[in-house]
């Protein structure tokens, strides 16, 4: 039962600017923590280097025109939005991130490993078919999903728990009933989409599920949504593989968002998803890093927690240092859960025509 970690020093290369929130420091303390924990020597963990995604793999998701735009802008330099510049050489780094997700998918299908976590940069879930944005260029998770399908996996469940709505991924699979896209995100918040009535269209109606949560939502809220929405849906959908867009900006110390998840909360959530995957899809599970900007107080502990959970290690001592406890207490909103219970009721109502579990 091996967990693959897809990582290479190339994942530290991409930077829009030295002080951008999505900079190489994001993974510096995580790598320190993983190395200090001796995880790369652990018999249940295998380090796998990434490779670049091929054009075919990318074009299964993105428009050729958009890919050309990225390729050309990588030479000249360019801009997608205020937060998302295209630095020189971007395309190589973006292809490596997407390729890491593809390699993870391959290794899980081939049973080289039981499950995989891709510690890639830049992230992907705001990238749509023909646009980037929100620090994202290529949609790594979507590219992995299409690759899984090309290799014979019919139905894929995407759980996007990044603090921001995965608008790019939603757009890509909006009309596709073979991919069940579930997103938990802070709302109202960037990018503005992800309300409960966005449920897909055409044949894909009912296969997009949005769980907007208020600021201050804690471990308890995420556990509640997992139990009430995600697990019943997954059990009814019976996917062949689960892909997690594992953003870590819901951590209570994240400087860009207002949620209140703990490292232990992340680890527990991943543990539940592993149990789910074991029960419905032979454990096939690919986690892909999205956001997460608390480089020192959050990411080392959340990444460790997620990997430890995937590898079946003891997560009972996964936690932040005590010095952050005050911040945690200030971040948690006691009223969030009651709001979420109300929203969940409405969401089940909206989804009930498509899912027997909500009838």
């Amino acid at each position: 039962m091996t967990t693959g970690i897809i990582f290479g020093p190339e994942y530290l290369r991409h930077e829009q600017s030295p002080t951008h929130p999505e900079r190489n420091e994001r993974l510096a303390y995580t790598m320190d923590q993983l190395m200090e924990e001796g995880l790369f020597d652990h018999p249940d963990i295998m380090l796998i280097p990434p490779r670049k995604a091929t054009r075919t793999e990318v074009l299964a998701v993105h428009d050729p025109g958009y890919l050309s735009f990225l390729e050309e802008s990588s030479v000249t330099g360019g801009m997608i939005d205020y937060d998302t510049a295209i630095p020189h050489g971007l395309i190589g780094d973006a292809l490596l991130a997407a390729g890491g997700a593809v390699i993870a998918a391959d290794a899980v299908i081939d049973q080289t490993i039981h499950n995989a976590f891709v510690l890639c940069r830049p992230p992907g879930h705001h990238a749509g078919r023909s646009h980037g944005g929100g620090f994202c260029y290529l949609n790594n998770a979507a590219i992995a999903v299409r690759h899984l399908q090309r290799r014979g996996m019919k139905r894929i469940l995407i759980l996007d728990w990044d603090a921001h709505h995965g608008n790019g991924t939603q757009e890509i699979f909006f009309t596709d009933p073979s991919v069940l896209f579930c997103s938990v995100h802070q709302f109202p918040f960037y990018p503005g989409s992800g309300q409960i009535d966005e449920i897909g269209s055409g044949e894909g109606i009912g296969y997009t599920v949005n769980m907007p949560v208020p600021g201050g939502s804690s471990d308890q809220v995420y556990q509640y949504l997992l139990t009430e929405i995600v697990i019943p849906l997954a059990e009814e959908f019976q996917p062949d593989c689960i892909v997690v867009s594992a953003g870590q900006d819901n951590h209570f110390s994240d400087p860009l968002t207002g949620l209140a998840l703990t490292a232990r909360g992340y680890a527990t959530m991943m543990q539940e998803v592993c149990i789910l995957a074991d029960s419905i899809c032979l454990g096939r599970l690919v986690g892909i890093l999205e956001g997460g900007y608390s480089v020192e107080g959050g990411l080392p502990y959340t990444n460790l927690g997620i990997i430890a959970a995937m590898a079946g290690l003891d997560i009972s001592a996964i936690r932040e240092p005590d010095s952050l406890l005050d911040l945690l207490h200030r971040s948690v909103s006691e009223s969030a859960i009651s709001q979420v219970i109300t929203i969940t009721g409405e969401l089940k109502e909206i989804l009930s025509p498509y899912w027997t579990c909500f009838r």
Binding site: R23, E25, E296, A317, E320, P321, D322
Partner: protein, 481 residues
Amino acid sequence: MFTGIDIGGTNTDIALIDSDIRTIKVSNSKGLAQALLKAGDGGRLAVSTSQPLNAMVTGSTGRVRTITIPGPGLVHGGAVKGAVGPRGDVLEPVDTRQVEGLLRGCRADAVAIVGKFSVRNPVQEEIVRDIARQFFDDEQIAISAPLGGLNFPARIATTRINAGIKATVVSLSDQIRKTHPDFLFVTSDGGLCGFDRAIDNPSLLYHSSPATVALGAGYLSKKQDCLVVDIGGTTTDLVPIRDGKPVLQTLFVQGRRTLIQAVTADTIPLGGDSCIRDVLTQVRSGNARAFGGGEPTLTDALNVLGADIGDVSRSCCLDPAKAFEAYQYYLETLGAIIHRKDPGLIVGAGFLAPYLIPDLADEARVRYYVPEHAASANAVGAAVSRISIRIHARADSGRGILTLNGVDYPLPAGISDDDLLMYAGEIVRTQARKEGAPAQDLKELLTSQYSVYNVVRGGRTQARITDFVIGIAPGITAEAP
């Protein structure tokens, strides 16, 4: 004069090298003092202590009590409250009462103290060590910060080894210093280190034997690429040499990864003292009969087949057919392993090399070379080796600190990336010079695992963090004759 001593399982080899090479073998029963006397006191002395330390590590090092300070993350045995972060800041204070509670009345022989990220700031290990000093002698206590590298479980394994062998290394060091105050130890990578460094991190000395032999065989044969076949009493070691240097790898001890870098070697449990009980076995029950032992061994077989080693008359009880069979078995077993490695050339080392290597090379279908003094290649290697250092460096411009293997140095403000390497390099050179390294050995420093990032808070760059490994590679000293 360059003098090397290798303390083996039964004998101690001595090599004295100036314009020519002299070698001496002293039985361990005569004691180390006798060997040191024969070594004389002119020039530089290097001592390889591999065998006694190996025996301790694989046998019993006594009971070692481990105290860990795991902080947030994965927990290991002997945990107490406390935490240091990746940047070396103290995140949670050590629970000193908990430490006292664990150590009071603890009947261990030694204490290993290991804190997560202690290599970035050793202060919490030092606090625990100060408490441990109330209950234990200094030479029974080891901390992990001097190991320098990240990997908490590997530091736990290595620090436990250190705690277990530290007292032996200290007493050995004290004994040798009486007559040779500036002596050096041979390390597991085949380099040399001063006794201070060895006492801080005794694991440096563990498993030095294959490295010493490889270096000696390389020096004697002048071959750059070969497989050294060292035929000992209990084992035959195969040590590849590439571009004149043995290959280093991380050592695992009893299945656990350590932070010890040791020479790559295959050890086959057959040697000159392997007993012949109908067939050649992997058992050693003492010396060969030719050297006063009770059971016939591979060495006795060589005598029966016409060699003249030790007291030949005592070997004769061995049936010639069995002797031939045992000899053939050794050649076929080793020959097949060597052939698979396809080394092109084997260089023999060890007392039996002249007797066995020609036929072994024939069996493996490779060329061979047995240099003069092959029997003492180990001691020769110790004599001609040079001081090597491997230091994990981390510069944190925010804290204004350069940490080298757990020891803090001031970091000049605004230092450039290039100047930082020069600055760290000069500290490495100073350390090596203090231990006696000549200038020619300090010309070339090796830097690896270089990485750098900026600490950005609130959109502003507040510090620059640089990590690298810097040091002097092991090898033969430029001063060797």
